[in-house]
């Protein structure tokens, strides 16, 4: 069913091959623009860039083991209303999942985008990446990739990929229009390019790339990686559940939170224009603080910390796609991702829902079933 092609690597390096492909997307694929992570000229960081000039995609680097933000938010900005042309967006699997959630929440649209995904080996935290990349980002990306392929793993010095990535069971996107495959592929020779949708096939046709074939070992390679990650994930669930099993433990877990709300800003699916915690709803009367303090003799300032995290869990855990940007953004190293993913595993299972899996699945809170949760409601409906 899926049409398969290949991007030749041969004499060039991987990045050069990919850059060639991106350029072709703009030139031959009739794309108005391309959203792709690139090394910015002024500093050695990788940021999503919106490219319309094919010549300006020459520092694109989707291999860099970093994503400073979840780019789904950028795609949402580009598609909330008609943008006026087709855009190819190169995203990690978790970014695609986040974007699917945002589309369900009416914060974006698939109408004018072509989703291009790359197999993902994981990413370092923003700060770690800067150290890792040193002066030559492109070289660092290749080095990272070679380490992984050669079996040396993802760690470098005292740096390793983030816990979110270690626990990620979706290194390959099944929802993109075009999938660029590396796992189990002989990337010295070529990259796999697989059309997953009708739109993907059409595009593939236009690009006129040589036909390829999904190598036999790919499935096994994916399964092996996923199984390692699931093992890590399940251990994480267990430890986090234990660490937050009552209110006191939870309070301690979140103890060094300063209510900066960075996690909410970094979260790709937290889509509110303004978080309720920064609105007048939580603009308490000064006398109220005194009342609270009097009741217990002491209150922690700022207040509402546990309330904030629990509210965000209540609102967003069913949409959590596990990208880990919350932890990445936390200035105080609170394991936000860990608790979010742990709770999300329960809430999503409760509704037989997996965030980001498919556009067809309605978000649980939009669906009303009379017979749901009789054990909670006590009634028959």
């Amino acid at each position: 069913m899926a049409k398969t092609a290949k991007i030749d690597v041969k004499e060039q390096n991987l990045l050069t091959a990919l850059r060639g492909f991106f350029k072709a997307l703009l030139e031959d694929g009739d794309m108005e623009a391309l959203l792709v992570p690139q090394h910015l000229p002024m500093k050695n960081v990788v940021m999503p860039t919106l490219v319309t000039d094919p010549e300006k995609s020459n520092t694109a680097d989707p291999l860099a083991p970093v994503f400073p933000m979840n780019a789904a938010k950028m795609v949402s900005r580009l598609t909330r209303r008609p943008v006026g042309g087709r855009i190819a967006v190169v995203l990690r699997p978790c970014e695609i999942k986040a974007f699917i959630e945002l589309v369900k929440l009416k914060q974006g649209s698939m109408d004018e985008v072509i989703l291009v995904s790359m197999d993902c080996y994981g990413t370092y935290g923003n700060v770690d990446y800067t150290r890792f990349a040193g002066d030559d980002g492109a070289d660092a990306s290749l080095r990272f990739y070679e380490n992984v392929v050669s079996g040396k793993g993802t760690a470098w010095e005292d740096i390793d990929i983030s816990p979110a990535c270690k626990a990620c069971e979706h290194p390959v996107s099944e929802s993109a229009d075009l999938q660029i495959g590396m796992l189990g592929v002989d990337t010295k020779d070529h990259l796999l390019l697989k059309a997953m949708t009708g739109a993907g096939e059409d595009l593939l046709e236009k690009l006129g790339l040589p036909e390829g074939e999904e190598p036999e070992g790919r499935k096994k390679a994916i399964e092996d990686l996923v199984s390692d990650r699931v093992a890590y994930r399940d251990k994480m669930f267990e430890e986090t559940s234990e660490a937050t099993s009552d209110l006191n433990k939870l309070t301690a877990y979140l103890g060094n939170c300063v209510n900066c709300y960075n996690c909410r800003v970094a979260c790709p699916v937290c889509y509110c224009k303004e978080c309720v915690f920064v609105t007048d709803v939580f603009d308490h009367e000064p006398s109220q603080y005194l009342k609270w303090a009097k009741r217990k003799g002491l209150i922690k300032m700022p207040t509402d910390t546990v309330f904030y995290h629990m509210t965000r869990l209540a609102h967003m855990s069913t949409a959590c796609i596990g990208c880990g940007q919350c932890s990445n953004a936390c200035p105080n190293d609170i394991p936000v991702m860990e608790i979010f993913r742990t709770i999300a595993s329960y809430t999503q299972r409760a509704f037989d829902y997996e965030a980001g899996r498919s556009l067809e699945e309605e978000p649980p809170l939009s669906v009303f079933k009379e017979s749901e949760y009789s054990e909670v409601t006590g009634g028959k409906d």
């Binding site: 929440l105 009416k106 509110c272 224009k273 303004e274 309720v276 809170l365 409906d381």
Partner: protein, 1143 residues
């Protein structure tokens, strides 16, 4: 508030009475709703679960627009509406005058207990020594002589059952609020004249009555009595019938001339009972049987005293009267075959079973055997007990029992997690209503309810004396079985309500042969007396949704009549007072504490609570009142508010629900928005006997007071929004239903546009020539068309179609394409969809292969054209349920059985020699239709049941149909070569999904319109302002379509009636600056009151449609959607207050 345009009296406050009363009240009429029982709700108070949802849902009848006019809480707990006066324990005793201007006399029995003072504490029942069977639980439990009529009313006051009461007076002594008064003091002033020629009778009566505290005088003859009467004043006369000289009847006649209002009670020996009954007819109040036994006689006289002395009589003028007396249940012990009812404790009626599964029932909902309290494992239901039984004088089907038996079986399954074995013994499973068949199928296939087609032979004990019952029956093949059950439930049929004859006589309406109210031709609500309408089961044998439809049909007719008479009985209403604008003031709370007549002082110290209150921020005053629920108490509150600068009022008393209506009044008198008043319940907390320390009580009281203050501080009510209404209607479909609805609306003075796609008006009725009752649809059709065409307010477009419709309640805009191809856009406030249905086409049973194979519709037309000569017919066969009652068309078309019966009877009448065979699955001759089924059997029509898995087979040879079918009873095959084979193919909707999509409404899986709620809102769509009627809703007879059309018009009129409609004060709003337009709230809103306006890029709330449920606020993650009166800050404050005093 609307201006009152007339008034009406509704007799009976069951479902249909409440529906009619609300209909009329919502339209602006003043309604008096009376019930002879001391509670609202009729039989529904006893039924917790309604099929098909298997829960209640009664509250869905409450108003959706102008919500603030009425209560908005559980309707089983109570009801108020500012246009409805409710009088309980009240009967209609006289009616005079003419339609549009009736003088009615109402009589309200005293309940002995002052309903205002009673706080429902239950002390009286505790000390009452009398136990009597509790009718609320169908006699399965006992209650005291002073009791709560239903356990869940709010407020819930006790009443005295005078028949059971021994007048010991214990309750009067213990009542903490002095609410009970047996009137002993008053008795001294009550003069009784005893007239009897026998001294011993006179003396003993005098002695007994003096003992009871009455004032007694005596006369030994009629002459002496009349003499005394002319000189002195008496309140009651006890009069012997058999006296020398002038006899009692003669004395009565003369007495009526002198003192017509003096109640006279005849005293009679057995021999003269008939005379006594005669005497009643000429004005005697009652009669007493000799010989007298003081233990029996005295309570009777005391009751008479209460009847005469304490009963309130009210006379009033009303424009129309709606009778909604409901029904009584058949008592199986009175029948020839009682199935052991009354003999074996484990034989109960279906109503008793409903009580057994109820949480307020004898075992809190556990299904236990009445004989020994053991868990029930196996239950049998017997259908048609006292129905379809000519021996029980019931040649009718009670219509509702099949469905509630299935429901009860499902409840038994559910309560026992499938453990109880359930069998329903039936003759025909009458699943003729919308979606009934699928409910039955689910019960059978998914829940394992066993259906056994059999009339049970007998019920005996097993001989083991453990209460187990042995049921003997024969199955359809004639094989005899014996099976043991723990419980037998008798589906007791419906009977006319007690007192039906008296009411009929009072109102001059005719009853049918079974004692139900007779209705006119094609109307289900018009009686033989103009201006008197009938709603619900009193006209016979209806389930809830049909009762609700018919109740609305009755209110429509009542309203049409009042309207035609000019609605001249308008009650003056003081102009609406404006509320003070307090939006810029700081909150100043006046706290009012009710001491509940001092009963709370034992457990709470009001001084301490008052000083605590005074110390609270925003509280600017505290006022304690002895008893707020009394008139004096309320007046004291009003006075306190005069000139008080407080802008918030916190009332600490009891039962916050009850205050909603009072607060509205108070708001008007104090010019303060009632939204700025809050009632909290401190009585429950501070009521003595909780065995709680005073300080703990105080703490709880403080918490609820703080919560109230917190809520009040955050209240910032806006003036209630009103929306302009386009006072015009669009009716789509020009059949009988559409025309009826159009006329009903136009007759109230509103413009109607009627759009029909065919070239002529009339729809289905054009092809119908007689009904089974012998009425002529053609006459109805001609009359309707002529009225429509002549009506100055109706514009008709035939050959026209709908192109597009948009808008919402009050403001729709619809484009149509007219016959000439021209387009027109119509503005209208309501839409009625009456797009009809058509006979289903079939390819089954060789249809189309022979001219002798017809559908019922084909036959109807052929008969009308004279294309069939009955005299030449030797054999006619009919097959019912063709392609129906099985997937994909798994519903009963309800009208085919009557068509078959009608045509079969017609053939038999024309030529008794014709052999007629009707092959059926279940004969659906519900209600009084059953008589025609009986008649057809008597006339020799042969009814052969068949199973859906083994249908008759038809082939055509030489143009003639040949039919073979297995007769399960005879066990042999029928082979017929009928001259005519008539197929009952049922009804399918005509318009299809397209029209529904154009109007943004839903259809069900069969393509019929989907009502908002099958029982409680049967003609509404979820989308407010759009209504349905006729065959497009579900298959139904002409009269039923008419009733539904009237009901739809009634629902429409409540919107059209004023040029502006007010929303409720609690509605949702959107903080657009925070809104991310995710539309979750739009998807979540159960009332379709929100939409995303793409041009303005904002979520818009339709305040009329918003019911203030708060789902949107709950689903919105950042509170961009808020519910007025329940803002986050406010709710936080309330939560904080609740926790504030928690140590």
């Amino acid at each position: 508030m609307k201006k009152k345009i007339g008034s009406t009296l509704v007799v009976g406050s069951g479902i249909s009475g409440i529906r009619s009363a609300l209909d009329m009240a919502e339209q602006g009429y003043q309604v008096t709703l009376i019930d002879k029982e001391p509670h609202l709700g009729g039989v529904l108070t006893q039924l917790d679960y309604q099929f098909p949802t298997d829960h209640c849902g009664m509250c869905k009848m409450l108003p959706l627009v102008e919500r603030d006019s009425s209560s908005q809480y559980c309707l089983r707990k109570g009801l108020f509406h500012e246009n409805i006066d409710i009088m309980l324990s009240t009967e209609l005793v006289a009616m005079e005058g003419e339609p549009g201007k009736f003088q009615v006399t109402l009589r309200q029995k005293s309940s002995i207990v002052d309903q205002e003072r009673c706080i429902g504490c239950g002390e009286c029942a505790r000390v009452c020594p009398v136990e009597a069977p509790d009718p609320f639980n169908g006699g399965l439990t006992d209650r005291k002589a002073i009791y709560l009529p239903v356990p869940h009313n709010i407020p819930n006051a006790y009443v005295v059952d005078l028949d059971a009461c021994t007048h010991c007076g214990e309750c009067e002594k213990i009542c903490p609020t002095h609410a009970i008064d047996f009137g002993k003091e008053e008795r001294k002033k009550f003069r009784i004249l005893v007239v009897d020629d026998e001294l011993i009778v006179r003396d003993s009566l005098k002695e007994w009555l003096l003992d009871e505290g009455f004032d007694v005088d005596m006369a030994e003859s009629g002459t002496e009595a009349l003499e005394k009467m002319s000189k002195e004043h008496f309140h009651l006369k006890l009069l012997d019938i058999k006296m020398p000289g002038m006899d009692g009847v003669e004395v009565l006649k003369r007495a009526k001339e002198i003192r017509p209002d003096l109640p006279v009670v005849m005293m009679t020996a057995y021999a003269t009972v008939e005379t006594a009954v005669e005497a009643m007819k000429i004005g005697a109040h009652d009669y007493l049987m000799k010989p007298f036994d003081p233990d029996n006689l005295i309570p009777l006289i005391v009751n008479l005293y209460h009847d005469i002395q304490s009963a309130g009589v009210k006379e009033m003028e009303v424009g129309s009267v709606i009778l909604a007396g409901g029904f009584d249940s058949y008592d199986p012990s009175t029948g020839k075959d009682t199935y052991g009812y009354g003999l074996f404790p484990n034989v109960v009626t279906s109503l008793q079973f409903e009580r057994m599964v109820s949480g307020t029932g004898p075992n809190q909902g556990k299904i236990l055997r009445p004989s020994d309290g053991k868990e029930v494992k196996k239950i049998a239901w017997f259908q048609c007990v006292g129905s379809r039984d000519q021996q029980a004088d019931a040649d009718f089907c009670s219509s509702a029992c099949c469905m509630f038996a299935i429901k009860e079986a499902l409840l038994a399954k559910e309560k026992s997690e499938g453990q109880i074995d359930t069998t329903i013994f039936y003759m025909d499973m009458r699943t003729f209503g919308k979606d009934f068949q699928r409910y039955r199928d689910r019960a059978e296939k998914e829940s394992g309810v066993h259906f056994e087609r059999s009339r049970v032979h007998s019920v005996e004990t097993t001989g083991k004396d453990d209460g187990t019952l042995r049921v003997a029956y024969a199955d359809t093949t004639g094989t005899k079985h014996e099976e043991d059950f723990d419980l037998v439930v008798l589906a007791a049929g419906q009977r006319p309500p007690t007192g039906a004859e008296e009411v009929a006589e009072t109102c001059g309406v005719v009853l049918n042969p079974w004692g139900f109210c007779q209705v006119e031709g094609f109307s289900l609500s018009r009686t033989s007396s103009e201006g008197v309408l009938v709603g619900g089961s009193f006209s016979g044998l209806r389930d809830i949704s049909e009762s609700v439809i018919q109740a609305s049909s009755a209110s429509l007719e009542a309203s049409r009549l009042i309207h035609s008479k000019g609605g001249g009985l308008a009650e003056e209403v003081s102009p609406e007072t404006g509320f003070r604008d307090v939006s810029r003031e700081m909150p100043q709370v006046l706290a009012v504490l009710c001491k509940c007549g001092g009963t709370l002082s034992e457990s709470a110290d009001f001084d301490e609570i008052s000083s605590w209150l005074e110390a609270q921020g925003s509280v600017t005053g505290v006022h304690a009142i002895d008893s707020l629920c009394t008139h004096e108490g309320w007046d004291e509150l009003k006075e306190t508010l005069q000139g008080n600068s407080a802008n918030r009022i916190l009332i600490a008393s009891c039962m916050p629900y009850v205050y909603a209506r009072k607060l509205r009044e108070l708001g008007r008198s104090a010019e303060l928005n009632p939204e700025l008043m809050e009632v909290v319940d401190i009585r429950t907390l501070a009521f003595p006997g909780r065995d709680t320390e005073k300080e703990a009580v105080h703490q709880e009281v403080r918490a609820v007071l703080s919560m109230g203050i917190g809520k009040l501080k955050g209240m910032d009510p806006l003036p209630v929004a009103t929306s302009r209404i386009v006072q015009k209607a669009l009716v789509v479909g020009g059949g009988i239903a559409g025309m009826t609805a159009g006329l009903a609306i136009a007759d109230h003075g509103f413009e109607v546009t009627l759009v029909e796609k065919a070239a002529e008006l009339g729809g289905n009725a054009r092809t119908l020539h007689r009904t089974i009752e012998g009425h002529s649809p053609q006459e109805l059709l001609e009359e309707s068309i002529s009225k429509v065409e002549k009506h100055p307010l109706i514009r008709t477009h035939t050959g026209a179609k709908i192109i597009y419709s948009q808008g919402h309640v009050g403001n729709f805009s619809t484009s149509i394409e007219k016959e000439d191809g021209q387009g027109e856009t119509l503005d209208h406030g309501v839409t009625v969809l009456a797009t009809g249905g058509i006979e289903a086409k079939t390819e089954s049973y060789s249809y189309g292969e022979s001219e002798a194979i017809l559908t019922q519709h084909d036959l109807e037309e052929k008969l009308a054209e004279g294309g069939v000569e009955p005299a030449n017919l030797k054999t006619v066969a009919m097959i019912q349920c063709v392609d129906s009652r099985e997937e994909p068309r798994n519903y009963c078309s309800r009208i085919c059985c009557q068509s078959a019966l009608k045509n079969a009877l017609f053939f038999k009448k024309q030529n008794p020699e014709t052999d007629i065979y009707i092959f059926y699955r279940d004969m659906m001759s519900y209600g009084f239709m059953e008589t025609y089924y009986s008649e057809a059997r008597k006339a020799g029509v042969i009814f052969v049941p068949y199973d859906v898995g083994q249908k008759p087979e038809v082939s055509v040879e030489d143009g003639r149909p040949r039919l073979s079918a297995l007769d399960p009873i005879l066990g042999r095959e029928w082979l017929l070569e009928p001259d005519l084979l008539v197929l009952s193919t049922g009804v399918v909707p005509d318009a299809g999904r397209e029209v529904a999509e154009q109007f943004g409404v839903e259809v069900n899986q069969d393509g019929f319109y989907q009502e908002a709620e099958s029982k409680w809102r049967p003609v509404d769509f979820i989308k407010e302002g759009v209504f349905m009627c006729g065959l497009a809703h579900s298959p139904r007879s002409i009269a039923e379509s008419v009733a539904m059309a009237e009901a739809a018009a009634q629902r429409a009129l409540r919107i059209l009636n004023s040029d502006r409609l007010a929303s409720g004060s609690v509605v949702a709003e959107v903080r657009h600056s925070l809104c991310a337009l995710c539309e979750r709230c739009v998807a979540f809103c159960p009332y379709e009151a929100r939409h995303h306006d793409e041009d303005e890029e904002m979520i818009v709330v339709n305040e009329l449609m918003c019911q203030g449920c708060g789902s949107c606020a709950a689903v919105c993650p950042n509170s961009a959607s808020v519910l007025r009166g329940y803002r986050d800050q406010q709710v936080f404050e309330v939560i904080d207050a609740a926790l504030e005093n928690v140590v």
